[in-house]
Chain length 526, copies 2
C-alpha cells in the first residue's frame, strides 16, 4: 500500500538530520581517503560506476538515508510507475518513458493497447523509414538521397535529442556509423531558423517536426518558416518533412508529411529522448542499430534502479545524497561537470530534466510544501570550466555540490603525447585532481591562496562514451530525478509553471494588455 | 583619498538593510506598474536601455544604494583603475582592459610605454594582417587564400571571443561583412581538437594560438595536436599559425608563427575580448572595421560608467541592485536570459566573467570576509529556456533574480507572419510576458496553477544586436562586475582558486600521488 507523504512528515528524515555531520576534509585525507574512494563506489549499468567517496556522507548517514528510502517507499513507487499507475496525478497520466526501452514489470495497457508493443512498433517504423532514407528508397523530389536531417522542436524535443546527437556524432564518424548530419531549430527568434537554414542544403534535407500536442507556438512558427523557405527554393515541403507527434494531434494524419511517428501523453518532453522524439533524428543520423544500443543502455540502467539495496542502486543513492545536500546541508544549486567534450550539451539537458521536474513548491496533492525542492542545475564540460567558473566553486562564499563524469578512453582515439602524457591522460588527471582539491583544500598562510576544502562531489566513471553508456547515463539521471521527486512528494511529470507566460504572451500579441505589460510591449516595439 | 573597506564596515550598508522592502507584486500591478516601467529605465551606450522596474527596489532603496556607492567610492575607484593604479593588488598589476578601447583618463605609462598607444598599435597590426589575409597577400604554402580561422585557447581566450563570434556571425553574413568562418578548440579532451579538425580544411586554415603566459597546458597541448595534424597532412605549421600572447612569453618571438600580436599582464583573460585575444579572430572573421565598431560600443559603455549620478549610470546601478539582492535579500544565484539566439553563448561568457572575478572569500588584503560575494551565474537564450528550466524559476522554492536582454529587430531580417504576428514579435511578446509573470504571478484556487510572483528581473532593451551594441553590452557587464567587486572589497582581477587543481593534476601525471588521489587516478586509468 503506497502512501504519499511530505518529506517533513517522515520520521526517518528527523533521523537523517540528527546524524553527525561528516568533515569531508578529514575523511578524505590520507589512507582514510583512499579507503573511501575504493569503498564508496557502486557499479552502474554498462560498466559505469558511481563513486561518492567525496560526498559528505558516511555509513551512518547512508543507513539513515536507507531508512528514508524505505519510509518514502521509493522502490514501491518506482514499481507502481512502471506498472502503469497514474503517477502524474496533476495531468492524470501514466508515466511510461521507461517503457520506450524495456519491459520492467507487468504489461501496461492504456487506451486499449499494450504500450510496450506500441513504443516498439514506433521504433520499428522509424528504423524502417531511416533505412529507406539511407538506401535512397525514400528520396527527394528528384530521387536524390537526403544528406541532412533538421529537427524542429523546443524544450524536450530539442535539448535531449541535441545533447545525444552531439554526444555520439564523433563516435559515429570514427566507428563508421555516421549516416547524415543533424541540425536543430528551436527558438522562436527568427535568427535561429534563418541562421540554421543558411547552413542547410534544403534540397537534400529531411525536416523532423516534433511536437507532442501539435500546438507548440515555437515549433509551428518554425515549421511555417521552413516551409516558406522550401517553397521559395522551388521545393515541395511535404516531400521534405516528417512529424513526430501524438496520434491525437492535428499533425498526425496530415498529408503535409512524408511520414508520422508517434509518442503519447505518457512521455513528458524532458523524458522523451528514448521515444520517437529522439529516435527519429538519432536513427537518421547514426542508423537504427545505434539508437537500439542507446535504448539498451537506458534499459539496463532502469533495471539497476529496481535494486532494493540502496547501496547497490546508483540512481537511488545519488538521489538521496542530493536530498541530503539540499534539505540537511542547505545547498541551493548543483553543478554538472562532464570531462568529455562530447557531453558539451548534456548539462543543458539535465538542467531541463531536473529543474522542470522538481522545481515545484506544491506537493502532488497541490498543497504547499515547507522545505526546499529541486536545486538550480548548471554546468559546462571540463577542463573548460576550470578556466572559467571553478574559481567560485573553489573559493566562493557558497558551497556548490558537484557531479563529475569522466571516461578512461576518448571517442576518436586520436591523441598526442606532450610532456610524457596523452591529452586523454591529462583530462583524467585534471578531474581526479579537482575532486581532491575540492574535498581536501589546501592550507596557506596567504589566505588568497588558501582553499577551505569540504566541497563535495561525486563522479561517474566509464570506459568510453558509446551509445550504450550514453543511454545508461541518461537513464541514471532520469531515475535520480524521479526518486528525488518521490522523496519531495512533488509531481515530477507536469510543468504548470510554464503556462502563465504563454497566456500573457498571447495577450501581448493580441494587443490586449494594460499596466506594466503594455509599457514593456511598447518598449520592445511590439 | 581612496580607502578600501569591507561592505559590512560601511555605515550606508546598514541603512540599505533597514530600508522597507518592496512588495514587487503590489508595485508592479496596474497603473503603478506602468509608471515604474516608464520611470525605472536608464539609457545605456549605443541606444540600449537598462530597465529595472521589475526589481524589488524603490526610490528610497536607490537613495540608500546611492549613499553606499558614495561611501564605497565606486566612481573614484573606477577612476583610479583607468588612470593606471595597481588595482589588482594580489598580482601587483594595473587593470587596463578599458584602455584597449579608449582613453578614459590620464595617459597610462607602464613598462616604459604609453599603454593606450600600445593597444592601438596591436589593433592596427592585427588590422593590417587581417586585410592581407583577406586580399590573399598572406596566403598558404601554395599561395592560396585562407578561408577559415581556428582559435586555440581556453577560458578567457575561448569563451568571450567565441560568444562574440557567434553573436555577430549571422549579422556579418547578411550585411556583407563575413570574411571567413571561425572555429574554436579549447578543451584538453583530445576529442575536442580531433572533432574540430574533422570539420576544418587545414590547407586553407589559419590557426590562432592564444595564451598570455605561453604556458597554458591545454593550449600548448592543442597546439601540438594541431601541428601534428598539419605535418601529417604535408603542411608546414609555421605557415598556418599566428600567436596572441604577451611580449615576454616564450611564444612571442618564435619562428613557429606567421605573426605574433600582443596583450599584457594588465588584461585578465576574462576581460580580454576587446584586446588582441578577441581582435585577431574577430578581425579575420568579419574584418577590422567590424572589430573597431565593437570597440567603439565598448568605449561608449565605459564612458557611461563614469557618470557620477547612480541613476544615470546603468552598470553601477545594475551592480548595486545585484548587491542588494545578494546581501540583503539573500539570493544565491542569478540567471542571464538573452532573447536572442545570437547571444546563445553570452551567458557562458558572463558565467566566467562574473564567477571568476567575484567568487572570492577574502578581501583585497587577503582577509576573510563574512558576507556573501559573487553569485552563481547561469543562463540560456529565450524562448528556449521557457521550455526548460523556467518551471523552477516560476514555481521553485528558491527565488532566482533574472537578467533579460531583448532587441526590437532581428539580425537577419528574414521572418514570417503566423497568426497575425512575426517571429520577432512573438519573441518580444514572450520576454515582456515573462517579466510580468515573474513579478506579478497569478492567483489560482488550484495551487498547482498558482504563481507566487515577487520574482525580480531587469531587462536590457536594444534596437538590434550589432557590433556596437554587442560591445556596449559586453562592457556594461564588465563594469557591473568591477563595481560589485569594489563593493565587496574583493580583488576581481586575480583567480588564485584555479591553481590548486593545476598543481594536483601535474602530480597525477608525474605519478607522485598517494591517498584518495592515487585511487581516483587508478579508477580513471591513468
Amino acid at each position: 500500500m503506497i502512501t504519499w507523504k511530505n518529506l517533513n512528515e517522515l520520521a526517518s528524515f528527523e533521523k537523517v538530520k540528527e546524524c553527525e555531520k561528516v568533515c569531508l576534509k578529514e575523511v578524505m585525507a590520507g589512507e582514510s581517503g583512499a579507503e573511501r574512494v575504493r569503498k564508496y563506489c557502486v557499479p552502474m549499468a554498462e560498466g559505469l560506476a558511481y563513486n561518492y567517496a567525496a560526498k559528505a556522507v558516511d555509513d551512518k548517514i547512508i543507513d539513515a538515508l536507507t531508512e528514508l528510502a524505505e519510509e518514502a517507499q521509493l522502490g514501491a513507487k518506482y514499481e507502481a510507475l512502471y506498472n502503469g499507475e497514474v503517477i502524474n496525478t496533476g495531468e492524470k497520466r501514466l508515466v511510461l518513458h521507461q517503457l520506450t526501452r524495456g519491459q520492467l514489470g507487468n504489461a501496461v495497457v492504456a487506451d486499449g493497447v499494450d504500450k510496450r508493443a506500441f513504443y516498439v512498433e514506433q521504433q520499428e517504423k522509424i528504423a524502417a523509414f531511416a533505412e529507406k532514407v539511407h538506401s535512397g528508397e525514400i528520396a527527394n523530389e528528384k530521387g536524390e538521397k537526403f544528406t541532412q536531417a533538421v529537427q524542429i522542436g523546443i524544450g524536450g524535443s530539442d535539448l535531449g535529442p541535441r545533447a545525444m546527437y552531439i554526444a555520439l556524432e564523433n563516435w559515429a564518424k570514427v566507428t563508421g556509423h555516421f549516416k547524415m548530419e543533424a541540425k536543430f531549430i528551436s527558438n522562436v527568434d527568427p535568427d535561429d531558423a534563418a541562421g540554421v537554414l543558411n547552413g542547410v542544403d534544403a534540397a537534400h534535407a529531411v525536416f523532423i517536426l516534433v511536437s507532442k500536442s501539435g500546438t507548440t507556438l515555437e515549433t509551428l512558427t518554425n515549421e511555417s518558416f521552413v516551409k516558406d523557405a522550401l517553397t521559395k527554393a522551388g521545393l515541395d515541403p511535404s516531400k521534405h518533412m516528417i512529424a513526430v507527434t501524438s496520434e491525437t494531434s492535428p499533425l498526425a494524419k496530415s498529408a503535409d508529411y512524408l511520414a508520422a511517428f508517434f509518442m503519447d501523453d505518457y512521455i513528458g518532453g524532458r523524458y522523451s529522448s528514448t521515444s520517437a522524439v529522439g529516435g527519429a533524428v538519432l536513427s537518421l543520423a547514426f542508423g537504427p542499430d545505434v539508437f537500439a544500443q542507446f535504448l539498451e543502455g537506458a534499459a539496463a540502467a532502469d533495471a539497476t534502479a529496481k535494486e532494493p539495496d540502496v547501496r547497490k542502486n546508483p540512481s537511488m543513492l545519488d538521489a538521496l545524497i542530493g536530498v541530503y545536500e539540499r534539505n540537511v546541508l542547505g545547498y541551493p544549486s548543483t553543478a554538472v561537470l562532464p570531462y568529455s567534450q562530447a557531453l558539451a550539451r548534456f548539462p543543458a539537458h539535465l538542467q531541463q530534466l531536473d529543474m522542470e521536474s522538481n522545481g515545484k513548491s506544491v506537493n502532488r496533492f497541490g498543497e504547499p510544501v515547507d522545505y526546499a525542492t529541486g536545486p538550480v542545475i548548471f554546468g559546462e564540460p571540463g577542463t573548460n570550466g576550470q578556466h572559467s567558473f571553478y574559481q567560485l566553486l573553489h573559493q566562493g562564499t557558497n558551497i556548490v555540490p558537484l557531479q563529475f563524469v569522466g571516461f578512461k578512453k576518448s571517442q576518436l582515439g586520436t591523441d598526442v603525447v606532450i610532456q610524457g602524457s596523452t591529452s586523454q591522460q591529462k583530462l583524467g588527471a585534471n578531474v581526479a585532481a579537482q575532486i581532491v582539491a575540492f574535498a581536501c583544500g589546501k592550507d596557506d598562510e596567504d589566505r588568497n591562496k588558501y582553499f577551505d576544502g569540504g566541497r563535495p562531489s561525486s563522479i561517474i566513471i566509464g570506459d568510453q562514451l558509446t551509445p550504450k553508456t550514453l543511454g545508461a547515463l541518461l537513464a541514471h539521471f532520469e531515475n535520480k530525478v524521479m526518486f528525488q521527486g518521490f522523496v519531495w512528494n512533488v509531481n515530477s511529470f507536469d510543468q504548470e509553471g510554464v503556462q502563465l507566460g504563454k497566456v500573457l504572451a498571447k495577450r501581448v500579441l493580441a494587443h490586449e494588455t494594460d499596466g506594466a505589460l503594455a509599457v514593456y510591449s511598447e518598449l520592445l516595439g511590439i
